[in-house]
């Protein structure tokens, strides 16, 4: 990295099935204003805006950043709109961070959102395309067969996915912004929920949410100024990487994609991470279906291939006594505003590193990993944040 970059402000909205109280502009502005306030700044202090979201058909507005420019204080400024499928929230933050590390800007506002209730996301995802194979069963129908392949390959027992579903929902109870608050969650409750895409239960899947996330990224100088003004310390970017591979190709390992492994290797090299399980104090990882936790534990090198389910099963990823808590915010299983879901992962590790995560704060976080993935697990975006200047 050329110049240093830090997260100096963080803002998010409460996620819900339908945020009927706000327009799209009101939703993104809510997150943006909170991030600015957190950084002790106003729109006037911002040099550029980078916004991301998943497909435009989710809201029925084409290139909505054009309409959102004034709501985000972007008039007269540079504004970029990123779209890299489900990883977009992460990629958007990375594009914004590069504007700082490249020395172009001092303070960049980055925002990601989805207002799924404004249109019909299930419809938007399955617009009939005459020559494509029909999508038979929604997103879960795509990922459940891959999960089955993981179970066959690793020999994982059937209950591991349900354990993740319970753990992340217990974490969510500590996060006031989470969409799902299920105080009565238990293995029994998950098991009794309908097996929607066998082997996946209903409660092993993510919800559909309206929500937005925002961060202010700043240079070393901007970070010092914000810290002096607010007393809140910055979270420094220690590494960032994106990787893509083709959606479908002969011999593709969909369970443990090469692009994810390469992306992790790149970001770890930059951050000097050699033993992820020991070197990170927590992680926020895109887990929209329960079994993706053990799968990504392996993909991200937290354990040997085939062993991820053991970490989950032993409780290693739980805030309740685990050595490497994953998704203390409740994760995607508890809040899924698609375009913002990746940024929420990136934002939550910033909260942890800054010691600002409230009830779901892990003690003494010095370094943490944020990961987002998208499409058919072919797009990856990651960053590593730390308390120390890199």
């Amino acid at each position: 990295m050329a110049e240093r970059c830090a997260v100096i402000g963080v803002g998010q909205t409460k996620c819900a099935s339908k945020r009927l109280d706000v327009s799209v502009a009101g939703l993104v502005r809510e997150a943006a204003l909170r991030a600015l306030d957190d950084a002790g700044l106003t729109f006037a202090d911002i040099d550029a805006v980078v916004i991301g979201k998943a497909p435009d058909m989710f809201e029925g507005v084409m290139m909505p950043e054009l309409y959102l420019a004034p709501a985000l204080g972007a008039v007269g400024k540079p504004m970029l709109r990123v779209h890299t499928a489900g990883s977009v929230g992460g990629s958007t933050a990375l594009v914004a961070a590069h504007l700082v590390t490249a020395g172009i800007h001092q303070r960049v506002l980055t925002v990601a959102f989805e207002k799924q209730s404004d249109s019909d996301a299930m419809w938007a995802l399955s617009v009939p395309q005459p020559f494509a194979a029909p999508l038979l069963a929604g997103a879960g129908g795509y990922f459940a067969p891959i999960i089955r392949a993981y179970m066959r390959r690793s020999g994982a027992p059937d209950h591991v996915g349900m354990k993740v579903a319970v753990k992340d929902r217990l974490h969510a109870l500590k996060n006031p912004y989470a969409h799902l608050h299920l105080p009565d969650i238990s293995m029994k409750v998950v098991e009794d929920s309908v097996v929607i895409w066998d082997p996946l239960h209903y409660l092993e899947s993510c919800p559909s949410s309206d929500g937005a996330a925002a961060m202010v990224l700043g240079s070393e100088q901007a970070a010092a100024a914000s810290q002096a003004a607010t007393g809140r310390r910055p979270a420094w970017v220690h590494g960032m990487a994106m990787r893509s591979e083709p959606t479908m190709f002969a011999g593709r390992d969909q369970v443990n994609p090469q692009a994810g492994r390469d992306c992790a290797a790149d970001v770890y090299r930059q951050a000097g991470v050699t033993k992820p399980r020991a070197d990170f104090d927590c992680a926020e990882v895109y887990v929209p279906f329960s079994w993706y936790e053990p799968m990504w534990l392996e993909n991200l090198g937290f354990c040997e291939e085939g062993q991820g389910w053991r970490l989950t099963d032993e409780g290693a990823t739980s805030m309740d006594g685990g050595d490497i808590p994953w998704n203390c915010s409740g994760g995607v299983l508890s809040s899924n505003p698609i375009g913002a879901s990746g940024m929420l992962r990136f934002l939550e590790v910033a909260l942890q590193v800054r010691g600002e995560a409230g009830e779901h704060q892990v003690d003494g976080v010095r370094r943490a990993l944020g990961q987002a993935y998208g499409g058919g697990s072919q797009f990856f975006a990651m960053w590593v944040l730390g308390t120390e200047k890199p």
Partner: protein, 167 residues
């Protein structure tokens, strides 16, 4: 338009959007679609890695070159993995539960998602050998709807090693 109860504030408005599109199948998909109308699976081969793609989408996704030729494949193959769908989805008229499976046709190097029928859901398994059930010739067209579904063809299950590289 719906107003918030007890308030004179407009909270939502409906804007119906209807857009019609003309899709181009493309050069590579043309023999594939014509093949479906004739009850055949036709793929294309990458001139670099020699892998056979079905449906062909114009290029080899790993080599970035155009796929070529017309490879006629068997209309039978192996279930590499699957899930059982227990809830109805919009636009689906299939009786639940149904099986959504990745089928690797013999001779192909990529699987595609298909419906499996004529077997109880709890008896479907990875490695199951299946064959295509085509709609009657007069109902076939240049679309995947020419294949009604796949069903077990009675052959012994494929060995895990024979398809594990396609998961």
């Amino acid at each position: 338009m719906a107003d918030r109860p007890g308030s004179d504030q407009v909270t939502t408005l409906d804007t119906p959007i209807r857009l019609d599109y003309h899709f181009s199948a493309g050069a590579a998909a043309t023999p594939y679609l014509r093949g479906l109308a004739e009850g055949k699976f036709v793929g294309q081969r990458c001139p670099v890695c020699r892998k056979v793609y079905i449906p062909p989408r114009g290029s080899c996704p790993t080599d970035g070159v155009a796929t070529e030729g017309a490879e006629v494949l068997a209309d039978k193959g192996t279930v590499t993995t699957y899930c059982v769908v227990n809830v109805p989805f919009a636009g689906q008229s299939i009786e639940i539960p149904y099986i959504c499976a990745q089928v690797l046709l013999d001779g192909a190097d990529i699987s595609f998602m298909s419906l499996i029928q004529e077997i109880p859901a709890d008896q479907v398994r990875m490695g199951l050998r299946v064959e295509a059930v085509w709609v009657p010739p007069e109902e076939r067209g240049p679309t995947l709807a020419s294949v009604e579904y796949f069903r077990p063809n009675g052959e012994p299950d494929a060995d895990y090693d024979s398809y594990k590289a396609y998961l």
